[in-house]
């Protein structure tokens, strides 16, 4: 896809890390690379806290622009279209900076055969917590600042009637809306 190199942080002590611990580890790993721009997604699809970009920015003493739907970089400045409740803001941000992007910000390129072959020789720097200078007791389960006090089944929403369309299903929808007096 075009990456020059990668850093893989791997350590068993990271299991159970909350978003802040994740941000601390990423910050330590990113600091080794001294990038001009730190690009992230908006949120993970498991924890989906959506807080890591701002946490990384704060830990690194950097500005951040979250929820970017478009980004361009020129002359040491990032120009970003940031989602708002009713549209978007155009933002100029000095670099280095953290920018989190929303899905659809760009159409990913297809990896070329040449690129795939070249990727095999790109360096992957694998480090553990000690290598990053992070005390393992401050991350993972050991360093968690929150605890689960209860897990319960949520009140289920009852499924209603399901009908197969025989060409007149729209009448069922209309009747349903009529009953609610919303049309």
């Amino acid at each position: 896809m075009g990456a020059e190199s990668a850093v893989l942080v791997s350590d068993e002590a990271l299991a159970g890390s909350d978003a802040l611990s994740t941000a601390k580890v990423l910050t330590a790993a990113i600091a080794r690379c001294e990038p001009d721009l730190i690009l992230t997604g908006t949120e993970s699809s498991d924890g989906y806290t959506g807080t890591v970009p701002a946490q990384v920015a704060e830990l690194m003493d950097l500005p951040s622009v979250t929820f970017a739907k478009e980004i361009a970089v020129a002359d040491g400045v990032a120009t970003v279209k940031r989602q708002t409740e009713d549209g978007y803001d155009e933002i100029k941000c000095s670099l280095p900076a953290v920018v989190s992007v929303t899905a659809g910000v760009v159409e990913p390129r297809y990896p070329s055969f040449k690129g795939i072959m070249a990727a095999k020789n790109k360096p992957v720097d694998e480090v553990d917590l000690t290598g990053l200078g992070i005390d393992p007791s401050t991350v993972g389960w050991a360093g968690a600042g929150q605890e689960i006090t209860d897990i319960a089944e949520a009140p289920a929403r009852e499924a209603g009637e399901v009908v197969v369309d025989e060409g007149d299903a729209h009448e069922r929808v209309l009747a349903f809306l009529d009953d609610l007096k919303v049309i």
Binding site: E58, P63, G87, A159, V182
Partner: protein
């Protein structure tokens, strides 16, 4: 009441308090003796509305100029906490700016954030957040283990805003600390995406289209139907990711949470991330070709059928009325 003081990150636009902020106030005043709201800009224009909803004081970090709220608000709260004047709890809405504030504050205070909260409860003087997981089938309750200030991100529409007739809130300012390099982002222009009907998260009827609509051109029938029903058009993530409609249309985990009187899901299978955003609707109608689609598990009326056959007839019938 278990907690002494809650602070809410208050959002407003053009002098009008955001509904999410009023929702947080409605819950917070049942949990703590004192509820204060921290805002930017002119706090005095917000004091009447915030006071009516239960806030005792509005604290302003001052005018942002064209800067973003995150660094300044987080700095002000962290400063108060380290000075011994901070609250027991900070509540932010799960909004664009709310997440910035919570994330930065979390790093400053060195406490994680309890996120995706849909309910709050006090247990032994500790605030706990309830978070739905696995597509809303399971509720997980979480609390902080340390004794310091806790930060919570609460999803919009978790509570009903309530005007309790409180006196206008007092107005005060709060000091912002040294921002270092964090304030380097500046808004140079603001764009409002025009939509003629009601707002997606306020509409009584939401008509949402999913991948089953087929392609961008045919999404138009969702817009047409929404207009006929005086509702708002919405979309699943698949449709937004495909670029058929702007992100502001998205309903679900990453998009908006909606609780309309009627939610009409068209060609939406009902991925867990989508269900989280619309399961609280009062009535759900789903139209989908696949009878196994998870959306039927939450629908009051499920139509197993082709949206391209059902919707045109529905539109025609409504136009004839």
């Amino acid at each position: 009441m278990g907690l002494s003081k809650i602070w809410i990150y208050g959002e407003a636009k053009d002098g009008v308090v955001a509904t999410t902020t009023l929702e947080l106030l409605a819950k917070a005043r049942t949990l703590a003796d004192t509820v204060e709201v921290i805002v930017h800009g002119d706090a005095s224009v917000l004091a009447t509305d915030l006071g009516a909803h239960g806030a005792s004081t509005v604290l302003s970090v001052g005018d942002l100029g064209e800067g973003l709220p995150g660094p300044r608000v987080a700095s002000a709260i962290a400063g108060a906490v380290s000075g011994g004047n901070g609250p027991a709890v900070v509540l932010c809405g799960t909004t664009y700016d709310g997440r910035d504030v919570a994330g930065r504050l979390s790093a400053k205070l060195d406490v994680p954030v309890i996120t995706n909260v849909v309910d709050l409860l006090v247990d032994n003087d500790r605030l706990l957040g309830v978070e739905p997981v696995f597509g809303g089938t399971t509720d997980v309750t979480t609390g902080f283990t340390g004794g310091g200030t806790g930060v919570f991100l609460v999803r919009p529409k978790s509570f009903a805003a309530e005007d309790v007739g409180g006196a206008p809130a007092g107005v005060d300012s709060i000091e912002v600390g040294d921002l270092g390099n964090t304030a380097g982002a500046v808004v140079t222009n603001r764009f409002v995406e025009e939509s003629s009907g009601p707002k997606l998260d306020e509409a009584a009827i939401v008509v949402a289209g999913g991948r089953g609509i087929g392609d961008a051109d045919r999404y138009e029938m969702i817009e047409t139907l929404a207009t006929l029903l005086k509702g708002a058009p919405g979309a699943s993530r698949a449709v937004v990711d495909s670029g058929w409609v702007p992100y502001s249309y998205q309903v679900g985990q990453t998009g908006k949470v909606v609780k309309p009187t009627v939610y009409l899901a068209c060609g939406i299978s009902g991925a867990t991330q989508h269900l989280v955003g619309m399961k609280g609707s009062q009535n759900i109608i789903a139209i989908n070709k696949d009878e196994e689609a998870p959306i039927f598990g939450v629908a009051d009326l499920g139509i197993v059928g082709d949206v391209h056959k059902v919707l045109p007839k529905l539109i025609e019938a409504l136009q004839a009325r």
